[in-house]
């Protein structure tokens, strides 16, 4: 059976096409004013990659903050549920999933079937999300890609006190004025987010193996910071952004 999953997030829509245990296609599109249209676009692109037409797909499920805005699906489930399903399917030893997306950070504990046993979400504070990194990269006037890589070259550990995007930005500016190397500032920013996510993770009672998914998982500076903060290794799947959509496709498959 061929199924599809759509993850309608705050910044991007992800789509995954799944057939008999294999991912045939996937895509990521930016969310415009019309979530439904963006979801349709993401699905079309994933179908193109899979070499399939819409008629060949059975059930489609949606997830993500905008999941209820996608009308052409057979069902929907929350990001929490889909993250766990998708992560355990990709990395079967996973028992704790950490998802850091544009606007939310989430820690989910799950069992061997990918069923959620506990979860915790940081949704009101920017310090636990990708938006925070973006704002700080802007303050340093570097690209997001360079920002992540840059922090790996840090020579000294400095502490960022602010946990709020607005105050952190002015702290970063003060550090620039104090001629603190950009590498050290970048690491301090990643450490601050990682500490926030670590406390979320401990709230659910971290159990190994730990998988990191979501857009921020592509940032090597953050991955390094989270490893240090959690004090354990973490696995990052090849396409960490599409794991929620994959979970939705698995839900559609039953």
């Amino acid at each position: 059976m061929i199924t599809a999953g759509i993850d309608a997030g705050n910044q991007t829509v992800k789509a995954v096409i799944l057939k008999d245990g294999a991912i045939l296609g996937h895509s990521i599109a930016f969310v415009g004013a019309d979530t439904e249209a963006s979801a349709q676009q993401a699905l079309d692109e994933a179908l193109k990659m899979a070499g399939l037409s819409r008629d060949e797909v059975g059930k489609v499920f949606s997830t993500g903050a905008g999941r209820k805005l996608v009308s052409f699906v057979a069902g929907n489930a929350t990001e929490t549920t889909c993250d766990a399903r998708g992560a355990v399917w990709l990395l079967p030893a996973t028992r704790t999933v950490i998802d850091v997306g544009a606007e939310e950070g989430r820690a989910v504990r799950c069992d061997a079937q990918g069923k959620v046993t506990d979860f915790s979400v940081n949704e009101k504070c920017g310090a636990g999300s990708g938006t925070f990194t973006e704002a700080m990269a802007r303050a340093l006037e570097v690209s997001l890609e360079d920002f992540g890589q840059m922090s790996l070259g840090s020579q000294q550990n400095i502490q960022m006190n602010a946990q709020c995007v607005v105050f952190a930005e002015s702290e970063v500016v003060s550090l620039i004025h104090a001629q603190t190397p950009k590498e050290d500032i970048a690491r301090a920013v990643h450490d601050a987010i990682a500490d926030r996510i670590t406390s979320l993770t401990h709230m659910v009672g971290m159990e190994k193996e730990v998988a990191l998914i979501g857009g921020v998982a592509r940032n090597p500076g953050f991955v390094d910071a989270l490893r240090r903060s959690l004090g354990c290794d973490i696995s990052v799947p090849d396409d960490p952004q599409i794991v929620g959509a994959l979970g939705a496709a698995l839900m559609a498959a039953g």
């Binding site: 903050a65 959620v116 046993t117 506990d118 915790s120 949704e123 009101k124």
Partner: protein, 431 residues
């Protein structure tokens, strides 16, 4: 077809009518030549009855009023805005900010703000004393604050603490006599203390019946039906109402009448809810969830005790074999500071109480409101969550505020609830 029969509470209308009458009494106190006394709900109702008789005064329960404003989305916005415009911090108690805003704007849901003649305030949380002293200064009226340092858990504190309260009670009586020109009547006071005990016994008995499957009273109804004990637990009217409600609950249990027809999951909900967003309870019902109770609500004026092995049970403080009516006002005052059991706002008491409910009320999980709008009931909630998790009970939280919609994000809260429901293997039974 639903699993269980459901039925609206017969005494629902009476509860509404009592509430209407109370606030009507507040608004027309002057015309009726009655003193209007304001302050948070507490045992001062007994003192006021001793002073003026059950019908001789009007009482504006500041928390009931703050709660009502919180539910009034339009007025709430204006009240909160006005308070912040005057420079008060948005992290103060949201009930208090609503109340103050209403006073500053001189506007209530029924016209002008009901200006009290006196404030009498038991300070059971950090906010209370400031709430009324600020208002008393603003209106230029006298105010008496009773210091209740350990949030009403008098039994735990032993003799000195009780004596401290009793001494303040004596001062209050003198103060009330001085400011009203009325004479305190011991008999009326004793009567009101006994009424307070009876309603406390009845409320615990009622909440204990929620152990039944299906659950006869959902938490949203519990909030509404408990209003009588919050506002006037010392009055004969409250005794009559709680007796009717107790009898109706007995019938509901006997007939298997459910609050939620498709009950398949029973949750504790704790901390005061967001009064403008009570629809989240109906939202959960679509998953077959019934919220059966929590420390906030069940532990209001109520008679609870723990068995030796820590089990929570409703007790009788009146009318048991060997019971004696207090022989004089001092004995009555000592009775007033005994019992309770819920320990109201103390974090330790909250944990013990919630664990008791989790053990014996057939609970499947717990949902906590991380409430930015109330410091009092928020103390120690995370510790309670950890204790429940240690018990193996699934828990979740959502953020909000009892009385400030600026702290509420509906989409995020519903998403959080959806996630929790899915983790409990529940799916929506209807849309």
């Amino acid at each position: 077809m639903a699993k269980y029969p459901t039925k609206k509470f017969d005494c629902w209308q009476l509860a509404k009518e009592m509430q209407r009458k109370t606030f009507e009494g507040v608004m027309t106190a002057r015309e009726q030549g009655k003193i209007l006394i304001a302050g948070s709900s507490g045992f001062q109702g007994c003192f006021l009855t001793g002073l003026a008789g059950a019908d001789g005064f009007a009482f504006l329960s500041s928390e009931a009023y703050g709660g009502m404003l919180s539910a009034n989305t339009e007025l709430q916005k204006e009240c909160i805005r006005e308070v912040e415009r005057r420079g008060y911090s948005p992290d103060l108690c949201s009930y208090m900010r609503n109340y103050w805003g209403s006073a500053f704007l001189n506007r209530s849901p029924w016209g002008e703000f009901p200006h009290a003649d006196l404030y009498v305030q038991p300070a059971i949380c950090d906010t209370h004393a400031k709430w009324t002293t600020t208002m008393a200064e603003y209106h230029g009226i006298p105010c008496f604050v009773i210091d209740v340092t350990e949030a009403m858990d008098f039994d735990k504190q032993g003799g000195h603490h009780k004596q401290y309260f009793i001494d303040q009670g004596l001062e209050l009586i003198e103060w009330l006599e001085k400011h009203t020109g009325k004479e305190f009547d011991d008999e009326r006071f004793i009567e009101s203390v006994v009424n307070h005990q009876i309603t406390s016994d009845l409320w615990a008995e009622i909440c204990e019946m929620n152990k039944a499957v299906p659950c006869p009273m959902d938490q949203k109804s519990q909030y509404s039906l408990s209003n009588a004990i919050i506002r006037e637990h010392h009055s004969p009217g409250a005794v009559r109402f709680m007796t009717l409600l107790r009898d109706e609950m007995k019938d509901r249990v006997a007939q298997g009448i459910a609050a939620v027809g498709n009950e398949s999951c029973r949750l504790i909900h704790d901390n005061c809810p967001a009064w403008y967003a009570l629809h989240i309870f109906r939202y959960m019902e679509k998953y077959g969830v019934v919220c059966v109770g929590g420390h906030y609500g069940m532990a209001f004026t109520s008679s609870w005790a723990y068995t030796e092995d820590g089990r929570l049970k409703a007790i009788k403080t009146v009318g048991y074999p060997g019971w004696q009516r207090p022989s004089n006002w001092e004995v009555a005052l000592r009775v007033l500071v005994s019992g309770g059991g819920g320990g109201a706002l103390l974090p330790d008491a909250g944990r013990k109480f919630t664990l008791g409910v989790a053990r014996d009320w057939n609970i499947n999980g717990a949902l906590f409101h991380l409430n930015r709008g109330c410091e009092g009931w928020s103390r120690g909630r995370m510790e309670i969550i950890y204790a429940l998790r240690e018990m193996g009970l699934p828990t979740s939280t959502y953020e909000g505020s009892t009385g400030d919609m600026k702290d509420w994000n509906e989409a995020q809260v519903l998403n959080r609830i959806d996630s929790f429901m899915e983790s409990l293997d529940l799916s929506r039974l209807e849309d």
